[in-house]
């Protein structure tokens, strides 16, 4: 089974802090995604990466950046956390095949005070 591991299940940070959310997958998949999920808004795509050092903006990239130095690891960075970034963050991976399914991690719930 594919395993997608997110470094922290729960984090509490203060406004202005730099936050790193890390995601590691064990299946050598090319594609990795970061979503945030908020009540009433569903899952919204922040960034995705289709190869090492490659990234593309999703629907809501403002306030975020990403890093993919190794194929198995995709990091989401909040340069200066704000209260409106309090959310559940979900990492996902897929092979990129036409019918490839997405495999998600368990999520990281971030609270910014």
């Amino acid at each position: 089974d594919v395993k997608v591991t997110q470094s922290s299940r729960y984090l509490v940070k203060r406004t202005g802090e730099k936050v790193f959310l890390e995601c590691v997958q064990d299946m050598d998949h090319e594609n990795m995604f970061w979503y945030r999920q908020d009540p009433g808004l569903g899952l919204r795509l922040i960034y995705f990466s289709y190869d090492v050092k490659m990234k593309e903006k999703g629907d809501i990239p403002e306030g975020y950046s990403v890093s993919r130095e190794k194929k198995e690891r995709f990091s989401l960075i909040l340069e200066s956390a704000s209260t409106n970034q309090t959310s559940m963050y979900l990492c996902a991976t897929t092979t990129g095949a036409i019918t490839g399914e997405l495999f998600f991690g368990e999520g990281s719930r971030l609270t910014v005070l």
Partner: protein
């Protein structure tokens, strides 16, 4: 990406069959239809995928009419553990350039 529309919520009694319909009028010729299930505090999980007609696996069935402008996820004899949010996605995961977009989903509440 084709936009999808599905009911925001549904209630069902245990043991009943549940059908959740998703509308996707702008589906493209090479788009697939995929459904995911999400439990609270977990990431979404793949349930079923299809292109046309009917697909069945051990968890659900997916019915897709000839015009492919809608699809119906069918869950047979639901139990309390089927209480979750169900997402309908339309698109093609290919080449790494395809953004995968989720909607709000349908919150299914199974009642004892």
């Amino acid at each position: 990406l084709a936009k999808t529309t599905q009911p925001i919520s549904m209630d069902s009694y245990e043991g009943q069959e549940v059908n959740i319909t998703c509308s996707h009028n702008n589906i493209a010729t090479n788009d697939y239809i995929t459904w995911y299930q999400q439990f609270p505090s977990q990431g979404p999980r793949f349930i079923i995928q299809g292109y046309k007609t009917k697909v069945t696996n051990e968890v659900a069935s997916l019915f897709i009419p000839a015009d492919r402008k809608s699809s119906t996820l069918s869950l047979p004899r639901v139990s309390l553990s089927d209480t979750a949010v169900y997402y309908c996605l339309v698109g093609r995961l290919s080449g790494g350039y395809q953004k995968v977009t989720f909607g709000i989903g349908t919150k299914l509440q199974v009642i004892p």
